[in-house]
Symmetry: C2
Subunit: 182 residues, 2 copies
């Protein structure tokens, strides 16, 4: 079993598998092809009145810096469900989703972020296992020089800019249709 500090790809080499046109990571032991895909991050700007919920990170990267509740999407959930799950895991908060605020892209690390507008259901929250602290900040109290990632700053500014806008653009699945048919 691989230890946590070992390179999980130590037995892999890059080559073009049969029938493919791009180089992929292929295991030299068993021939397993590891298709690398961009990763989706789902999260939300969560407010209570005119204050913003932020989490101080307990883990690297950017331990000790403040972030939105957000993280990698898991299988078989919707992006909104993922954003709600992350708010629960990181801030022990139940949120109500109001609409999609932003789509950010960081191609260097092959990451796409879907960020929702959301509200706390009640002013109840606590640090989850990945947070040192969770708090509500008025706009002028936000620790701007202690934010974990550029997209946290973008999302807070975009949220302020978008106040009052109707949010069903872009379009989403038709009501109740999970696309689970042909």
């Amino acid at each position: 079993m691989a230890g946590a500090d070992e390179d999980p790809f130590r037995g892999f080499a890059r080559r073009v598998p049969d029938g493919d046109s791009l180089e992929r990571l292929v295991c030299g032991d068993c021939g397993f092809v590891h298709y690398e895909n961009p990763k989706l991050v789902v999260g939300s700007v969560v407010t209570w009145g005119d204050r913003f919920l932020l989490c101080r990170r307990a883990i690297n990267p950017r331990r000790d810096y403040w972030t939105l509740p957000a993280g990698y999407m898991e299988l078989n959930e919707t992006t909104a469900e993922g954003a709600m799950r992350e708010a629960w895991e990181e801030a022990q908060a139940r949120i109500v989703i109001d609409g999609l605020l932003a789509v950010y892209e960081i191609p260097r690390i092959s990451q796409v972020q879907l960020i929702y507008r959301a509200r706390l259901d009640a002013p109840v929250f606590a640090a989850g296992p990945e947070s040192l602290e969770v708090a509500l900040f008025g706009w002028d109290e936000i620790p701007w020089d202690r934010l974990a990632f550029p997209s946290v700053r973008w999302a807070l500014h975009h949220h302020r800019e978008a106040a009052g806008e109707v949010v069903p653009i872009p379009r989403r699945n038709p009501e109740g249709d999970a696309g689970d048919h042909r």
Copy 2:
């Protein structure tokens, strides 16, 4: 080396790796943890005047049915670059992106689709390797009963509905900022 018809996960079992909280696919030979992530599909509704570009699929699933130029996002590209790449690969078409039309989700297969509005740069296109045929259809000529996936129908209808709308919602990265800094 694994043959194309062999199950690539034949040596894997589901268990919770050290330090994780969910079951993952772990290789019984070498301990490699295969994290499964939702996949991003990028594509576009492409028009030339009031006609829509569709591709008849040369591959399964849904061979012989009509679809939008769309496919899995690759590493280190933006979603718009991915949509342009797919238009080139599937329809040998150069497109101009006008904005994000829709975000669709199919949680059963852990898929999120980002669909753009786009225009042909010139009425020049041809079947790429994954297409049997590429053609422009007026709205009433679209082969509605021969569309490959529900989201193709959704996107065409949403495109029609969105005609004339301003498209910079949701917000995107600030101009020229690829998030590649802290």
